[in-house]
């Protein structure tokens, strides 16, 4: 008897598995990839959608904006992601990459605003930073104080070296890697303006843009800036454990953790819901979700998911995304976005 049992199981188990593996199953749920900054918002919408709708809950993976676009633009078909979270607008190079992959029609959804904060542990005093200070503290090369026309490798070790009014703590900043949209936005909103404090660099922008980018966008790699991966939650935890360090991430993470960390003032403005919504806080940027139009009719629930995303109860001023720390679009802009999205996704 045992003999037959062994024989049968040895024969049937692999056969069954082979058949199960090769049988193509249809995908009946939406997959979303991309930015870790937008991840908490999209997962919230996904969950709401799953709990109230007739469709399966979309699957959301956090891969970083850049990595997300790579997956998203891979092509049309069930094996490719339907939507991508982005903490910045899509770049021309990505539009080209998408086109190359056959992804031509992409619906852009501007979901709201997020401030980029430079946060520290509640155990330390609030820093008052200028964008120039951050540039000097984090750039790979900075203008030589003696001869500003000359670039030298970043010599600064402590914040006091950068700006005498700052404390003499070692510079240690945990921030996003180049795959992250937050990094792109940080470069654009902090490093470049900081860099432009020098008129010759500012002038460079129009003359030799690639040189300008090399000067302003290169972040130091000597350990003062720690690339902390895509997981912003992890950065929060590390800040709590290591009060000397600062972290760069989205406002929503700050809001969720106000009992542990606080945002530094940038140009004298504290990152708060109101200061970002009103545009007073200088480092804020819009967040986006992109959806493949070609998938809209095919992946069950995708259109409904997009509709849910732009609905009043999620993106609206009193919507649940606002509870999660997303700064909603002004009512007028929201209406425009919604109308555009709904018409494009038809």
């Amino acid at each position: 008897m045992m003999q037959k049992a062994v024989l049968l199981s040895v024969l049937v188990a692999p056969a069954m598995f082979g058949a199960a593996a090769s049988a193509q199953s249809a995908r009946d749920y939406v997959t979303v990839v991309g930015s870790s900054t937008v991840y908490p918002f999209t997962t919230t919408v996904a969950e709401q959608f799953g709990k109230t709708g007739r469709f399966k809950t979309p699957k959301v993976e956090s891969t970083g904006t850049g990595g997300g676009f790579k997956l998203f633009c891979g092509g049309i078909g069930v094996q490719h992601a339907d939507m991508v979270n982005a903490s910045r607008a899509i770049k021309q190079s990505e539009i080209d990459a998408c086109a190359k992959g056959g992804v031509r029609d992409v619906v852009e959804i501007k979901v709201g605003y997020d401030g980029i904060v430079v946060a520290g542990s509640n155990r330390t005093a609030t820093l008052k930073l200028a964008r120039k200070d951050l540039y000097l503290a984090l750039a790979k090369q900075v203008p030589d104080p003696a001869n500003p026309q000359n670039l030298i490798a970043n010599p600064y070790r402590t914040w006091k070296d950068v700006n005498a009014s700052l404390p003499a703590d070692r510079i240690e900043v945990l921030g996003p890697p180049p795959t992250s949209g937050t990094r792109d936005a940080f470069l654009e909103l902090v490093m470049q303006p900081g860099c432009e404090s020098w008129s010759w660099i500012k002038a460079l922008k129009d003359v030799d843009e690639s040189r300008f980018r090399r000067v302003c966008d290169a972040i130091r790699e000597d350990g003062a800036y720690v690339e902390a991966g895509e997981n912003d939650n992890l950065i929060v935890q590390k800040l709590v454990a290591n009060p000397r360090a600062l972290g760069i991430f989205g406002y929503s993470f700050l809001e969720e953790n106000l009992n542990q960390i606080h945002g530094s003032l940038i140009e004298g403005v504290a990152p708060t819901f109101d200061s970002i919504a009103s545009g007073k806080y200088p480092v804020s940027r819009p967040l986006f979700v992109y959806a493949k139009k070609a998938h809209m009719d095919v992946i069950p629930g995708m259109r409904e998911f997009v509709t849910e995303y732009v609905s009043e109860r999620s993106m609206g001023e009193e919507g649940y995304l606002a509870d999660k720390g997303l700064i909603p679009l002004p009512a007028g802009e929201l209406a425009k976005v919604r109308a555009a999205v709904l018409s494009k996704s038809k």
Partner: protein, 429 residues
């Protein structure tokens, strides 16, 4: 020799004190070492249980809700499309405002609404969809409180902190206290933790999805690794000729048992996902990877069990004219079965706790719906623990520990089964 026996005695005596001190010291090192290990076990378990036990009770709020057509923005309850988009949070807020009429204005109203979990709206929607005639009626329902309220009741939020530094405002705490005093807010058994999938809201997050994912994964693992492992063990112990090929196989199996599990993850990623194009995040792929991982464990355990069957039994069977295969299937295998099963259970327990290779094949994702098949996206318990451990909300620390308790409970049951099996069928030859 010039030394006499008496001299020896004196010399020995002289050395004794030092030597006995060394002896005592050595012994103490040993005891301390054992206790370091044991103390750590106890410390770990008490920490986990201390942190996690509270997750099995959850704050609930009892409210009188009024399915008010005006608040819902709904005048016809027969249209399912309208039912799905009605404004349920308003109903919840109204129910709260009935108790605290002083909460006027947008900000206060939102703060009040934040006491109740968003799942309350889903609950209302479900009820109304099930019975549209409820529209306009009133009923008393029990909802989940929000995670912050839950933490406050469990002492996870320090009331003495300045208002900005804690997630609940003074006003909200006053409401919570008032609700508690009225008997409408309190802790009760957390049914949802074992019956729901993952969620972004700590109070709604449950382990069912991960448990089902683990189950599907382990079914695949067992179906593949058990028959193949036993067959391989039988071949190696009973049939394999002693030659280089057999040696190679043996060395390979022993090596594989000690290869880091993450390397198996790389294999899974490259082979199953990239070459065969199987779906990401699927229990099928997870099970395949884990079965390769547990195969060596099962083979080694089964070989040991088969080897322990005394040769006399084999000789007796062969002497009766049985073929080798008959000898194995009629005598050796039944006698070795307890050992084989024990090894299999231990291998399965290891597979249940394995995380690293599953990270490689996309089983780290936010997945709410519990999987319903082998190709649905899923996570497993350890990965869920990993995901929750990374979540910033304080309430997830409690959930993580509770999920660990669930995982450890399963492991303890499996290991206990192995121990019982071993002791019940242990044979002395």
């Amino acid at each position: 020799m010039s030394r006499t026996a008496a001299d020896t005695r004196v010399l020995v005596e002289k050395s004794l004190r030092r030597r006995y001190r060394a002896e005592r010291r050595f012994r103490i090192y040993g005891i301390v070492s054992v206790f370091v290990g044991v103390a750590f076990v106890l410390f770990l378990f008490s920490t986990i249980v201390g942190q996690g036990i509270t997750a099995f009770r959850q704050a609930h709020i009892t409210l009188d809700v009024h399915y008010d057509a005006a608040a819902l923005g709904l005048d016809d309850s027969s249209d399912p499309a309208l039912l799905a988009t009605a404004n349920y949070p308003a109903v919840v807020r109204n129910a709260l405002r009935d108790i605290f009429p002083e909460a006027e204005g947008r900000v206060a109203s939102r703060a009040l609404g934040a006491l109740v979990s968003v799942s309350a709206s889903h609950e209302l929607q479900r009820r109304l969809e099930a019975d549209p005639s409820l529209l306009g009626s009133r009923e008393r329902l029990r909802f989940l409180a929000s995670a912050d309220v839950d933490q406050l009741l469990k002492g996870g939020i320090d009331r003495t902190l300045p208002e900005q530094a804690r997630p609940l405002s003074d006003q909200q705490i006053a409401w919570v206290d008032a609700l508690t005093a009225r008997g409408q807010l309190g802790l009760a058994f957390n049914k949802g933790f074992l019956s729901q999938g993952d969620s972004r809201e700590p109070e709604q997050a449950g382990v069912l999805g991960a448990l089902k994912g683990s189950l599907y994964t382990l079914v695949i693992t067992l179906l593949l690794s058990f028959p193949m492992g036993v067959a391989a063990a039988i071949y190696l112990e009973e049939f394999a000729p002693r030659n280089r090929w057999t040696d190679l196989v043996e060395v390979n199996i022993n090596n594989l048992a000690a290869v880091p599990s993450i390397v198996f993850g790389l294999l899974g990623l490259a082979l199953f996902l990239n070459v065969f194009g199987m779906p990401r995040s699927a229990p099928l792929v997870g099970g395949l990877v884990l079965s390769l991982l547990t195969l060596p464990t099962i083979i080694i355990a089964s070989r040991a069990a088969i080897k322990a069957v005394p040769p006399s039994i084999r000789e007796a069977a062969l002497g009766m004219g049985a073929s080798r295969l008959q000898m194995v299937s009629d005598h050796v295998l039944p006698l070795a079965m307890p050992g084989v099963l024990t090894g299999t259970i231990i291998g399965m327990a290891r597979a249940l706790g394995e995380t690293a290779p599953l990270l490689m094949i996309g089983m780290v994702a936010f997945i709410v719906d519990p999987p319903r098949g082998f190709t649905d996206p899923a996570t497993v318990l350890p990965v869920q623990i990993y995901l929750w451990a990374d979540s910033p909300e304080r309430a997830f620390v409690e959930r993580t520990s509770a999920a660990i308790m669930v995982l450890l409970a399963f492991l303890i049951v499996m290991n206990a089964a192995a121990v019982v099996l071993r002791s019940r069928f242990e044979r002395r030859w």
